[in-house]
């Protein structure tokens, strides 16, 4: 092994390639392989290529760039499918980073957020443009946009004003305080799904939880470092650690599956890897990331663990129930192991008839910018998923990820009148008694 290759990724990450038994069990789990049916799309194939790159007998070629970006959603399905404990995501995201360093980031120009931003820029104020520039630190925002598998018209409009501008920094419950949490609302809630944020604050305070919404929070950085730009991502991580790595709270609550998996797993891993590779990362930062990691809970996880804090919801003997199905976001199910909790919440709601859809745990095909960049592959995966969703014949599809929400709602058959909501919105509307109205009026959830 040459010195240069040794430094491509850390020793710990490299070791994964030697634990791959080539058993192929990850092929069945990979949404991209299942559509393209070619070995390079498979997790096993990419681990093989990673091995040769690490051992120094394969270049990080343009072809390799294509494989890493266009044949992988970084959905993590392979990680949980692999009985040998290979962490493919760490290998692939590490290689994406090195690839972006080598070939530049032409792909970043077309990033998901930039597509969104175009629509928003046309319609709203300048604060969003500033925000996007801060995140992507690139000039190409106004450039021509390819939308791939995502119709621009289906992209939800922007909040009138950012979610957090509507709330004080600390929101107190009416009665006794049972717990104190920090709320990481992420970009999606702040700029698109303000209703999700309102639902989170409403449900938590209803449970007697004091909600603190730190000012100045921004992107968790995950979409950025998954695109290979670890430098910009480090900025996001440093900011987030400064605001959220706090010992004096009971939990850090996240409503976005992607942000949650970033805070929970990626921060500590990336920081340690960068430190091992000699980058300027302090042990103190890693400790902070570990502290944060121990505090992070998905909102559904937190609520399900404290169901007894919820006020009883009115029972509805004989009344019509609303059929609700649930889609497992990759970053919640595979990234954080949260599967039962959202179902527990939905099943506990008297006015809801919970239906388990077939293949609830398969990827929706969105994958952030993947659906924009590689629309054809994305469409194959999404269409299969939409079929399963409609088969469930539900009125509401609950989920816990804004990315899945956008992808799925954009492809639903409009005639079927199905709504997509965050799990916590279903709960909040049930507590408020507005779920029936919501269904009857057929309004969308924006």
């Amino acid at each position: 092994m040459t010195k240069q290759q040794k430094e491509l990724l850390s020793e710990r990450t490299n070791e994964h390639v030697y634990h791959c038994a080539k058993c192929g069990l990850c092929l069945d789990a990979c949404p991209v392989y299942k559509e393209l049916l070619v070995e390079s799309a498979s997790p096993r194939g990419k681990v093989q290529l990673a091995k040769h790159i690490i051992e120094g007998d394969l270049e990080i070629s343009k072809k390799m760039e294509d494989i890493l970006f266009s044949q992988c959603l970084l959905c993590g399905s392979c990680v949980i499918a692999c009985p040998s404990g290979v962490k493919q995501n760490e290998l692939f995201s590490g290689l994406r980073w090195r690839t972006a360093q080598r070939h530049g980031m032409p792909l970043a120009k077309k990033l998901f957020f930039q597509v969104l931003s175009r629509r928003w820029l046309m319609s709203t104020s300048s604060w969003f443009g500033k925000w996007v520039r801060k995140i992507f630190s690139g000039p190409a925002i106004e450039s021509r946009i390819e939308v791939g598998n995502l119709p621009v018209s289906a992209i939800p409009p922007l909040n009138d004003k950012p979610f957090n501008a509507a709330y004080p920094e600390i929101v107190m419950p009416e009665d006794e305080i049972r717990a104190r949490i920090l709320y990481f609302h992420g970009c999606a809630t702040n700029y698109v799904f303000a209703d999700v944020g309102k639902a989170v604050v409403s449900v938590l305070t209803n449970m007697g939880v004091q909600v603190e919404i730190p000012r100045g929070q921004s992107c968790c950085g995950l979409p950025i470092f998954l695109s290979g730009d670890r430098k910009t991502a480090i900025r996001c991580i440093t900011e987030a650690l400064g605001l959220f790595a706090r010992d004096d709270v009971d939990a850090v609550i996240v409503d976005c599956a992607t942000c949650g998996s970033a805070l929970r797993h990626e921060y500590a891993h990336i920081l340690r890897e960068l430190k091992d590779l000699g980058e300027d990362v302090s042990e103190d930062m890693i400790e902070k990331a570990q502290l944060l990691q121990s505090k992070v809970r998905d909102v559904s996880e937190y609520v399900a663990a404290h169901m007894d804090w919820l006020a009883a919801m009115p029972s509805r003997d004989g009344a019509r129930k609303i059929r609700v199905a649930y889609h497992d976001p990759c970053h919640l199910m595979k990234g954080q192991g949260v599967t039962m909790q959202p179902r527990t919440i939905l099943k506990s709601i008297p006015s809801v008839e919970y239906v388990e859809m077939e293949k609830a745990g398969t990827c929706c095909g969105g994958g952030g910018e993947f659906q924009i960049e590689f629309g054809d592959t994305s469409a194959l995966i999404t269409n299969r998923k939409i079929g399963y969703i409609h088969d469930a014949n539900a009125q509401i599809l609950a989920t816990g990820c804004p990315g899945c929400n956008i992808t799925i709602r954009a492809h639903l058959d409009k005639n079927k009148n199905m709504q997509v909501l965050h799990t916590i919105q279903v709960l909040q509307k049930s507590i408020d008694g507005t779920l029936d109205n919501f269904i009857d009026s057929g309004i969308t959830a924006d």
């Binding site: 030697y18 634990h19 038994a21 080539k22 058993c23 192929g24 069990l25 092929l27 069945d28 049916l37 070619v38 070995e39 390079s40 498979s42 194939g45 093989q48 290529l49 040769h52 394969l58 070629s61 072809k63 390799m64 494989i67 692999c82 009985p83 040998s84 404990g85």
Partner: protein, 457 residues
């Protein structure tokens, strides 16, 4: 490297994205689930029998080796290109062409994944009995070419028993159709069986007619733990001897149990010597009787704990560890050498004891898993190929294990086939006459020797 002139021809047949020859793609078709790797010169992903026929004509003319590949999950180096050449990957030929519920057969393309077919058939109340543990990925064509069998082989046999007919392309591009759709068919010599277990040496299977069974109305499994492995083996012999025909009868030893538990945290006790998994299926009342009988035998033979699944979720839970055992073993160390020697059931205890002695002799960690109901034993040696000295000891241990199996009246491979891994030991089984028959057969069907050269013989 395939000459550009030939590459052009192949590209014209398979289309732009059906012909691959970048270094990345070749690396991705250089492996299967065995430890060996070999680079092909090109990979073709055809969509039809006609395309394969055309490809074979070119390969035969140019005398280029052709290796059929399904999902590449075989454990014997069967689908790697040891002499270079063209890999024909059948993964995109995955259509279900005909499904007859009333006549209980289906015609499918060879690249269809076993489990994808099972899921389809199940919705119609039918199933295809062969169930190799790799079924979520392995293809029907690969199952046929390896004559795969799975846990439920004790009752339902192996792939060969469920194939009514085949469409295959011979080395010169000729397309033949064997068998038919009827369950009874003795018109002519049984050419179908010839291709079962032929490891891609005689032709490329492109379609198969599968015989199906109605789903049994009920099934039930037991999970049984033993402080002594001998008692588990004795239980196996007694159950088989009692006249009960279980669907599956699997054994896992202490090493494997511990590894699976560490990886999966599913609540297996780590201080036992062996675990048996027994499944019966059929009419509910009959199953429950059999389960009671089996439970009694287990207890009489010294079982320390018996768990019986009472619903589908519990069934899944009991079998989860078994299905992921091989992968979990490879978590211990970078490499896991899996063999599949098979002995008469009554010799299972001697075989297992012998494996432990070999492990001690060569100072290796060997876990044992077995489709105990048919004597098919999986010793799994965990090692690291990068450690040359240990690797040599592992190879010697495998030689000893093979000899032991043959001494006990058994055979080298119950299901994984010969490929290149067991080729050096074939003379333990085949004599000169047997080799000659195989060679003659090859000469007739594949005179230029282009089909999967370097394997078996």
């Amino acid at each position: 490297m395939v000459e550009e002139k030939i590459a052009k021809e192949l590209r014209a047949i398979a289309g732009g994205d059906g012909y691959l020859d970048s270094r990345e793609d070749l690396l991705n078709y250089s492996y299967d689930s065995s430890v060996d790797e070999a680079m092909p010169d090109a990979v073709v992903l055809p969509n039809s029998t006609e395309q394969i026929s055309k490809i074979m004509k070119i390969a035969d003319r140019e005398k280029i080796p052709v290796i059929a590949r399904g999902a590449g999950t075989n454990l014997s180096g069967g689908s790697i290109a040891v002499k270079g050449g063209i890999v024909i990957a059948l993964t995109r030929m995955n259509a279900i062409k005909e499904f007859s519920k009333e006549n209980r057969y289906a015609i499918v393309e060879a690249g269809l994944v076993n489990l994808d077919f099972q899921n389809y058939a199940m919705k119609q109340g039918l199933f295809f009995p062969p169930d190799p543990s790799s079924w979520a990925v392995a293809t029907i064509g690969g199952n046929i070419a390896e004559n795969a069998g799975g846990p439920r082989g004790v009752k339902y046999g192996v792939t060969r028993d469920w194939i009514l007919g085949l469409k295959a392309v011979l080395a010169d591009g000729t397309v033949i159709q064997t068998g038919g759709v009827t369950f009874k068919n003795v018109t002519g010599v049984d050419l179908t069986s010839l291709f079962c277990g032929s490891e891609g040496l005689l032709g490329i299977v492109t379609e198969a007619t599968l015989k199906l069974l109605p789903l049994p109305p009920f099934k039930q499994s037991l999970q049984v733990f033993y402080p002594k492995i001998d008692d588990a083996s004795k239980t196996v012999a007694r159950i088989i001897g009692s006249g009960i025909v279980p669907v599956a009868l699997e054994l896992m030893d202490r090493v494997v149990i511990n590894v699976v538990e560490d990886a999966k945290k599913i609540g297996l006790p780590k201080d036992v010597a062996a675990m048996l998994l027994v499944m019966v299926d059929g009419i509910e009342s009959e199953c429950r009787n059999q389960v009671r009988l089996i439970e009694q035998i287990c207890k009489e033979e010294g079982a320390s704990r018996v768990a019986i699944a009472e619903n589908e979720t519990q069934e899944e839970a009991l079998w989860l560890g078994r299905r992921s055992a091989l992968g979990c073993m490879s978590q211990l160390r970078p490499n896991c050498l899996l063999e599949d020697v098979t002995v008469p059931v009554s010799n299972l205890p001697v075989m297992i004891k012998g494996i432990y002695e070999i492990a001690t002799k060569y100072n290796l960690t060997i876990g044992v898993m077995a489709h105990a109901g048919d004597g098919n034993t999986h010793p799994m040696i965990v090692t690291d190929k990068r450690d040359k000295e240990e690797w040599e000891r592992a190879e010697k241990a495998i030689g000893d294990i093979f000899k032991l199996a043959v001494d006990l009246g058994g055979t080298l491979s119950g299901e994984h086939g010969v490929g290149i891994s067991k080729k050096p030991f074939m003379n333990l089984i085949y004599g000169e006459a047997e080799f000659r028959v195989l060679k003659d057969l090859k000469k007739v069907l594949d005179p230029n020797g282009i089909l999967n050269p370097g394997k078996i013989m």
